[in-house]
């Protein structure tokens, strides 16, 4: 049962096996003519043990996307298209047969079984995510009761103690009520709870936004250690791009319901290709590095009811050209990042960086700020060997096109 914990951490994090695939996901709010599209055509791929960041302003559809893929959307949210494939590997068995479930097509029973045991969620507000009238132990053990029928009450209690210890809370807190805990402790309980069944994927919807920065840092570091130990993959939703640059392996930037750029954290950090990513990046001060003028993004995100024609970002974009106002740019590999011999740019591989911007269609030279060079692994194969996760041993079996897993800042401290 605890086999996953004893897994070799490097093995758990290096696998490039896909665990969650989202294809063309459309989510509407409301029905009929009043419906607004909150997420359209979202494609995402989450690899086993990977941290995938979802970034964007409020209202960009990142939380809606996360709730849709767990089918937890509240009315009037409706999933109108696409599929979410979960490639589940039996627990404990490393090389067991992979079972694929289409979450959007699963019936209630299947969904109930999958939830939490394979796909857990940590919500933004720890203040409200715990049932105020139930004790911590009851909230930790009810999942075990529902999913692990064979466990005895004593075993469940033992597991609850173990879970709390994992997040640094002493066992005497088991009998506490949520209101007797601090905000940070509550979020820790929430994280412990999400790991109760050793899920393969944990979705975190702004898990630390409601906390002060010190607690935030503590919890995130703990979380990353736990992830290395237990090997679960994380979908990390936040508006804080600088945070994502530290902890995510790859990042998808959302704007007005669409994914506008998808790249590895390092790529996005060093060389953003979409003007919106650039704007987001410029909105957060960096603690290291030279002083730069904070720019932010002028204007406000569009209302979903009256979306601009063409690229939704063009009214706020300082690089916008005429074509941006008319045609919607496809999510494609930027011209400058295309690798010779891979002609099919309209269907990039999941690990290839993509950006939805006309400036990168190869017809003109992209503005300098969006055309910073970023070495791809294919040109610099030695970079695989210097990846900070200690997975140099497995570097040999990597395909050349795989992106490098790097933590620009956190990587050096871990």
């Amino acid at each position: 049962m605890t086999q996953t914990q004893t897994l070799n951490p490097s093995k758990a994090t290096t696998g490039r096996e896909v665990v969650l695939e989202i294809r063309g996901l459309d989510v509407d709010y409301g029905f009929g003519p009043d419906a607004v599209r909150a997420v359209s055509g979202a494609d995402l791929t989450l690899h086993r043990g990977e941290v995938l960041g979802l970034a964007g302003e409020s209202g960009s559809g990142k939380s809606t996307l996360a709730y849709a893929l767990t089918r937890l959307l509240r009315a009037p949210g409706v999933i109108t298209g696409g599929e979410v494939l979960f490639h589940s590997r039996p627990q404990g068995a490393d090389a067991g047969p992979v079972e694929t479930v289409d979450i959007l097509a699963a019936d209630a029973k299947e969904l109930g079984r999958m939830r939490w045991s394979e796909l857990a969620v940590v919500f933004q507000s720890a203040m409200h995510a715990l049932n105020p009238v139930a004790r911590i132990d009851a909230q930790l053990t009810d999942v075990l009761k529902a999913h692990r029928r064979h466990m005895s009450p004593a075993e469940r209690r033992e597991r609850a103690v173990e879970l709390l210890r994992m997040v640094g809370i002493s066992a005497d807190r088991l009998r506490s009520y949520p209101h007797e805990l601090s905000g940070g402790m509550r979020q820790r309980v929430m994280i412990a709870m999400s790991l109760a069944l050793e899920p393969q994927v944990v979705i975190m919807d702004e898990p630390t936004t409601a906390l002060d920065v010190v607690t935030q840092r503590e919890i995130l570091e703990e979380l990353m250690l736990l992830r290395e130990r237990l090997g679960f993959a994380v979908v990390f939703i936040t508006h804080d791009l600088s945070l994502l640059l530290e902890l995510a392996d790859s990042i998808a930037v959302m704007y007005a319901g669409r994914i506008v750029e998808r790249a590895s954290a390092a790529e996005l950090f060093r060389a953003p290709r979409h003007p919106y990513s650039l704007g987001l990046k410029g909105s957060f001060p960096s603690l290291h590095g030279e002083r730069v003028r904070m720019e932010g993004i002028p204007g406000a995100p569009p209302s979903l009811k009256s979306m601009p024609s063409g690229c939704a970002f063009h009214p706020r974009c300082k690089f916008a050209v005429d074509r941006c106002k008319v045609d919607l740019p496809p999510l494609a590999t930027p011209a400058m990042d295309r690798i010779d011999g891979l002609p099919d740019v309209s269907a990039p591989t999941p690990t290839q960086r993509v950006s939805s911007c006309w400036l990168h269609d190869g017809q003109q030279a992209a503005p300098d700020a969006l055309a910073l060079p970023f070495p791809t692994p294919v040109h610099l194969p030695d970079q695989v060997a210097t990846a900070p996760n200690g997975d140099t041993a497995s570097g040999a079996d990597r395909v050349p096109s795989s992106t490098t897993v790097t933590h620009p800042t956190l990587g050096s401290t871990s």
């Binding site: 509240r74 109930g112 939830r115 919500f123 009810d142 999942v143 529902a146």
Partner: protein, 328 residues
């Protein structure tokens, strides 16, 4: 626990204030029980010794107010509520006869209305705009209709024309009665048969409140993050609803305790229409006969019921909501 003791102290003070008011208010009203009695007497002649005897029985004006008050407190302490001027029996006996009927009738009707209404409310809130929601206007209609019309309506349709239930009384009496009062099966069945219509009146008139209150709380609570978490945990659906219902129930509990206090008085109209031998009918009769001791006695019972119900609400709330356990 300390919080509860402090509450208890508050309730003692409130009870004492109620007892004191209950003593002074009738004494501020012009006239007296004795005068009322004399006014109703048909015989014109009354010997001084007879008058003295009556004065002794109804409490004359020989003592000062303070001494009377102390006597009143002493009597109350011994459960002596005085004599009914219209029935010539001790008030405690009158109340002892009436209370079980009222508590049985209105109490059970209130509890049933609360339980059924809350359950419907939970289901209606969970399945918003479902079939149960369309039931709401009917429920509110029954609440909006005046009590006595609803009572008469039920009596006419189901009782008189339908012939399904008896139209009055608490049990069969008179020549054709086949039951003997006591704890026996046929009599209990007869009592339930008689209580059906008045209980239905009380329940129908109050159930909409429970349904709507619970439904609205349920809708609010279903939107809470912890309910979403319960669903995300993959708990069985009824467990998710239970999490929401458990939290949505809290305001209803206080309302329920408050409605208990109406059990004793809220039944006046129902009891009169159905000629039901309870406290409601008694206070109506006592008011007509200017029977102050009975009215005082009933007032006292009502006051104590209200206080008791509130205390109960406090205790239950503290038991159900851990956040209320902190000493404020």
């Amino acid at each position: 626990m300390r919080a509860l003791l402090r509450r208890l102290w508050f309730y003692l003070v409130a009870a004492f204030a109620a007892i004191t008011l209950n003593f002074f208010i009738p004494r501020m009203v012009p006239g007296s029980a004795l005068q009322n009695f004399l006014a109703k007497m048909n015989t014109a002649s009354l010997t001084p010794s007879q008058l003295q005897a009556l004065e002794a029985q109804y409490g004359g004006g020989h003592q000062g107010l303070v001494a009377q008050y102390l006597t009143y407190l002493g009597n109350l302490f011994h459960g002596n509520l005085g004599m009914s001027t219209s029935l010539s029996t001790p008030v405690s006996t009158v109340l002892g006869n009436d209370l079980p009927w009222t508590i049985g009738l209105v109490g059970s009707a209130t509890v049933i209305a609360f339980l059924v209404g809350t359950l419907i409310g939970v289901l209606a809130g969970w399945r918003r705009s479902g079939l149960l929601d369309s039931l709401l206007p009917a429920a509110t209609f029954f609440q909006a209709v005046p009590y006595f019309i609803l009572a008469s309506l039920l009596m006419l349709t189901l009782g008189f024309y339908g012939g399904m239930f008896p139209t009055g009384g608490a049990y069969d009496t008179g020549r054709f009665a086949t039951v003997t009062p006591g704890w026996n099966g046929p009599f209990m069945a007869n009592v339930i048969d008689h209580a059906a219509l008045p209980a239905a009146t009380v329940a129908l008139a109050s159930i909409a409140g429970w349904i709507i209150g619970m439904r609205n709380m349920m809708i609010t609570t279903m939107d809470e993050d912890y309910v979403l978490v319960a669903a995300a945990k993959g708990l069985p659906r009824w467990r998710v609803v239970a999490v929401a219902a458990r939290n949505a129930l809290l305001p209803s509990i206080s309302n329920f305790a408050l409605s208990i206090s109406l059990v004793v008085t809220g039944s006046i109209v129902t009891e009169i229409v159905f000629n039901y031998a309870g406290v409601g009918r008694e206070i109506f009769n006592a008011a007509q006969a200017a029977d102050y001791p009975v009215m005082q006695g009933i007032l006292l019972v009502v006051t104590f019921t209200v206080l008791g119900a509130n205390l109960l609400a406090d205790i239950v709330y503290v038991a159900l909501d851990p956040r209320a356990r902190k000493v404020a």
